[in-house]
Symmetry: C2
Subunit: 239 residues, 2 copies
């Protein structure tokens, strides 16, 4: 069978003004590799890639769409999720977006800080005269949570990146994410065990935990589990 795969990759950047933004670090290396593995297995791939993410070479069955911020990501997934069989959501999505930036003195002189949350920077480039600035940020919508409601039949593989935690904590957080987001798999990984040559990952489902040692391992494992899950699902439906 040929599946339609949606991969999100790299990071999003939320603008503070026309020249500055808050970004999530992510090179897109794993997303690129996943796209290449799925293409090699003859599937069709839509790759939603952050502005600076690395991407595969052109391929007849690959479409690359560049994503700037969370709003553009939501608009793209709303279009593509209903058309896809599998979604691999590797993207490092900004969890906060700028609301208002002002200097420290202004903040000190504002009796109720909640008032500042209704303000917006009208200037195109915020002045850099003051010694201190204060940036107010608000939470962005959880993109991973929107995926299953947009297509309940989609096979969803989410990613959970933590920093310097125990394996138990990694697994527990991934299991939580599995339930909350109705994901089929969560690839749990820790920044401290990722290097040029190594990328430890645990692919966690309701049923089991599979280990991978490198980015290639992770990509191969996700391709095979996606195919297996897709086959089982369609077997059940056709029985």
């Amino acid at each position: 069978m040929t599946m339609r795969i949606l991969i999100t990759s790299g990071g999003t950047t939320e603008k503070i003004d026309q020249v500055r933004g808050i970004t999530n670090f992510a090179t897109g290396t794993l997303g690129k590799l996943l796209a290449e593995h799925f293409l090699a297995a003859n599937h069709t791939v839509i790759l939603l890639a952050g502005l600076t993410a690395v991407v595969p070479d052109p391929h007849l069955k690959l479409t690359i769409i560049r994503i700037s911020d969370v709003t553009s990501l939501i608009s793209s997934i709303t279009k593509w999720i209903p058309l896809s069989d599998v979604c691999i959501h590797t993207m490092a999505v900004s969890d906060y977006t700028p609301v208002y930036m002002t200097d420290l003195d202004t903040v000190k002189q504002t009796p109720d800080l909640t008032d500042l949350l209704t303000k917006h920077n009208l200037e195109q480039k915020i002045s850099s005269q003051q010694d201190y600035q204060v940036l107010f940020l608000k939470k962005t919508p959880k993109v991973i949570k929107m995926i299953k409601p947009l297509n309940p039949a989609i096979i969803l593989v989410g990613f959970k990146l933590m920093v310097d935690v125990s394996t138990e904590q990694l697994i527990q957080t991934a299991r939580q994410s599995l339930m909350t987001n109705k994901a089929d798999y969560i690839l749990a990984n820790d920044l401290t065990t990722i290097s040029e040559t190594q990328h430890l990952g645990l692919l966690i489902s309701q049923y089991d935990i599979l280990e991978a040692q490198t980015k290639h391992d992770i990509a191969a494992l996700i391709v095979s589990k996606s195919e297996e899950t897709y086959d089982n699902y369609h077997d059940r439906r056709n029985r």
Copy 2:
């Protein structure tokens, strides 16, 4: 004559934590083009390039050094400025760097906000549970101002990017920067007149203002003015 050219290009990113940062938007396209023009004119080029900046193909007379943040930029220019004849400082340098990030309620309950400026985030990845976060930022050192003190004989070309201002305002701000930073030239440009095919620029010195219409024009102009200034300077010295 062969000159040693130091070009800074792209943008810097200041870390908030291990997974997030504040970045200045800059692709490095103009810095890459400048490097290529100087190499074509047989000069030696050191390119200090932001992590995601585009860079030229390998060349015998080109050295590329990747720059993450303002601290790494300062450490690199301290080494290279004394060894260079010309510095073209195109880099979009972060003017603020994160000090401390915390949730809105904590900020509201802190009587003197100055206390928060002495705090640091000890966690590797700041929690994303709260609806609002507040990020305190402090000004970074002005890198362009450090260049002439490190090498008074260097020919310094600075860049001034503004957004949607009048030509008069652009020229006035560039003249100010020329004096404050003891630059030989300031290339003044406005984000609203930069596109794929056009890049309006004014190369401003104490003596005149030269216009350019495209990135290629700008690069060619900067190469010829740098050579001219270098020749004049060395003629004077040898007379």
